[in-house]
């Protein structure tokens, strides 16, 4: 048991470290390091531009999408090298956030289902950040029940005509391409009538509208499709086999370990170390200490769970759904942590302006953003189901809609 690199790993780390030291956009390092959930900005710079420039620089030097084959814009690295890269990239890795969907989900789906020519044409600019991709699965009526989607794709000659609405599409407004899950047969049970495509987001009939979130920010979009035409050559997988294609996408989502989930603990611990309460330093208050200790062991537990997963990865083992615990634990924890940080500030805890609030309103922004983390990428309840079913082997929920034709499933609970 050790945290040491093997000689190869050490050599790789040294090379990565040196390259990053020489090339990373250092002027943003401090701001990137201070970013926390709900609070991420670079003063006087456009994040998208900074991110694209960094990604292109990485790609040009062979540091983009390390685990992808070289012919598709990657480096052909081992999973552990990818982790080492992430460790060394540190705060600059936060600039990758707009590429995560494309690199983690769309790319692998293309790799598995697109034709060779398509792969050679579409993947390298995806890897280099020149083209950004989004994923169009969720729908207003779907929610946790992804397969309950209603967006229709109808075949007209060599083309498919798409009508419907997607929601929660991260980055749709700056995306060039997207992978799209549609319903091609509503007369069969819901999982059996889906088909996957990829499309140009600039296609006529695609309309992107930002969603204003509860926090006030707009990280997501609604995407409306009105008679959008997609050539059949952009179909991924066979007709009506879209559910299986999407499982590849979602499985790859879970492979993206080490990206790290934010618990808010380091921020809270720092805050408590400097905060004075009425009766002395917060860090000397036993009630504060008790709360901190409970969160500390969750945060360290997640950290070392991730280390164990990385070790498994480095031995060639495939990380399993065990990783679902990260988001589950961190999601409700960061919400509680943020609320407690406000509590420690007393009445002034309600203030949220950067100028007026404690630590520039970091915890207030975190509190307002936190409800989203318990929902996005699978609700807490779905995560518990995944753990119970795939890790512990417990039975699935009873599926009343399993054998029912999609168009016979009720859509409203009360009349």
């Amino acid at each position: 048991m050790n945290f040491d690199d093997t000689p190869q790993e050490g050599a790789f780390r040294a090379e990565a470290k040196a390259w990053i030291a020489a090339n990373a956009p250092k002027q943003y390092e401090e701001e990137l390091r201070k970013a926390s959930l709900g609070r991420f900005q670079l003063k006087g710079a456009n994040i998208l531009e900074v991110a694209k420039a960094w990604q292109k620089k990485k790609a040009d030097a062979g540091w983009a999408c390390l685990h992808w084959p070289k012919e598709y814009g990657g480096r052909g690295s081992s999973p552990i090298e990818r982790v080492i890269w992430q460790q060394e990239e540190g705060p600059f890795g936060r600039l990758s956030s707009m590429f995560i969907i494309g690199h983690g989900m769309c790319g692998p789906t293309m790799m598995a289902f697109a034709g060779e020519e398509q792969k050679r044409s579409y993947l390298p600019p995806l890897a280099s950040g020149e083209k950004i991709w989004c994923q169009l699965f969720s729908e207003p009526a779907g929610g946790s029940d992804v397969a309950g989607l209603r967006t229709r794709a109808e075949k007209h000659g060599d083309e498919w005509v798409i009508n419907g609405q997607k929601i929660w599409t991260s980055g749709a407004h700056y995306s060039d391409y997207g992978i799209l899950l549609t319903r091609t047969d509503p007369d069969v049970p819901k999982h059996k009538g889906l088909t996957m495509f990829f499309l140009d987001m600039k296609s006529p009939g695609v309309e992107v509208r930002p969603i204003k979130q509860a926090s006030g920010a707009s990280d997501f979009n609604e995407v409306y499709f009105t008679d959008v035409r997609i050539p059949d050559s952009q179909r991924l997988g066979t007709v009506n086999d879209g559910w299986n294609v999407s499982l590849t996408t979602l499985m790859n989502e879970r492979m993206s370990i080490g990206a790290g989930v934010s618990t808010g603990f380091p921020e809270l611990f720092d805050f408590c170390n400097s905060l004075m309460l009425e009766d002395g330093p917060a860090i000397e208050n036993r009630a504060v200490r008790s709360k901190l200790a409970n969160w500390a062991v969750k945060a360290s537990g997640l950290k070392y769970t991730s280390m164990r997963a990385i070790s498994a990865l480095s031995k060639g083992e495939r990380p399993g759904p065990e990783n679902s615990i990260g988001k589950l634990v961190a999601g409700s924890m960061i919400q509680d942590v943020a609320a407690y940080a406000l509590d420690l500030q007393g009445a002034a805890g309600a203030l949220s302006g950067i100028e007026d609030a404690e630590v520039a309103g970091k915890f207030q922004a975190m509190l307002l953003r936190a409800p989203g983390t318990r929902v996005e990428g699978g609700t807490d309840e779905i995560m518990r189901n995944i753990i119970a079913e795939r890790v512990l082997g417990l039975p699935g929920d009873i599926r009343v809609d399993k054998d029912v034709p999609f168009n016979k499933i009720p859509t409203k609970g009360r009349n």
Binding site: L275, G349, L351, E358, P371, R374, T379
Partner: protein
Amino acid sequence: MNFDFSDEQKQMRDEARKFLSEQCPPKAVREVLDGKAPYDKALWKGLAEMGFLGVAIPEQFGGAGAGHLELCVIAEEMGRALAPVPFSSTVYLAAEAILIAGSDAQKQKWLPKIASGDAIGTLALFEGHGNPSPKAVKVTANGGVLNGVKKPVADGAIADFAVVAARTGSSGRESDFSLFIVDLKAGGVEVKSLTNIDLTRGQAEITFKDAKAEPLGTTGEGWSVITQVLDRAAVLMAFEQVGGADRALEMGRDYALDRIAFGRPIGSFQAVKHMLADMYVSATLARSNCYYGAWALSTNAGELPEAAAAARISATQAFQHCAKNNIQVHGGMGFTWEFDCHMYYRRANAVALGLGSLSYWEDALIDRMRKKNAA
């Protein structure tokens, strides 16, 4: 024993609910949320006309002279509707301070204006982070004028006057503190709006520079009045919180009944059912603690300090719990600006702090229970 509101009080609740559902639908709350108005003036006038602003103000001072139980009933409805008006600062804080400590002339001057909706009041206590504590008060009162900065002051930007806690001595004891009434529209007062997580209720920073101040109550007894005001406000605010918690629970329940996933209402999944059951449990415990607080408040019982702390803690927890899990029941839609869930979440987290934080009241409750136990 009748540990419940009377039929007349319940009727008043129904009236208030009806009035607010008409005059203060979510659409009206959003006018303030979206920054189109600092508060809902029409609603404020309407509340005055209904007699709700002066419900606990004696008739001789222009109020309805009903009492605090009636005010509790109104408070619950105000919380339910997220009414975007300076009700709590004016009625629970400013009016109560004047009722407790004001001279007859001061009562004659301010209370009728409060009841008629012509004066908005607030309490200016805090000076930066921290909880109610005499030590934290740095604003000084000397020769009839105040100097210093108060922050945050609830509804400070729209208030006409404030009850201000200031330092009048330097003995290091509670008797250093006194209360003053300050006309915020007069000279020597600078008010700055501060952004806060609850966009439907304003906060402000108020700077006093030789601002004229009129003593409220006996010099040196300010802290004792503050304590009484906070206890009363804690009960009243707890009713607002229970109202909000109940509404958040209802929203979650309704959505769980309507929303279909996997071919059935999401409310048929135990994870959702049990989450809602737990919300009901915390809202019910809070309501029961609030009733006890209402009894203690309305009878001015010796149990008030303990009852107020229990109501405050329980209602704070319930509202925070119900508001956050209402979002969770709604899933992604609950996290949109468009759905109303976040308005309750914002309010729940903001009102949790305004009279002192949960930690502060936890400590206060045990202190009070301990004193009672020792007595």
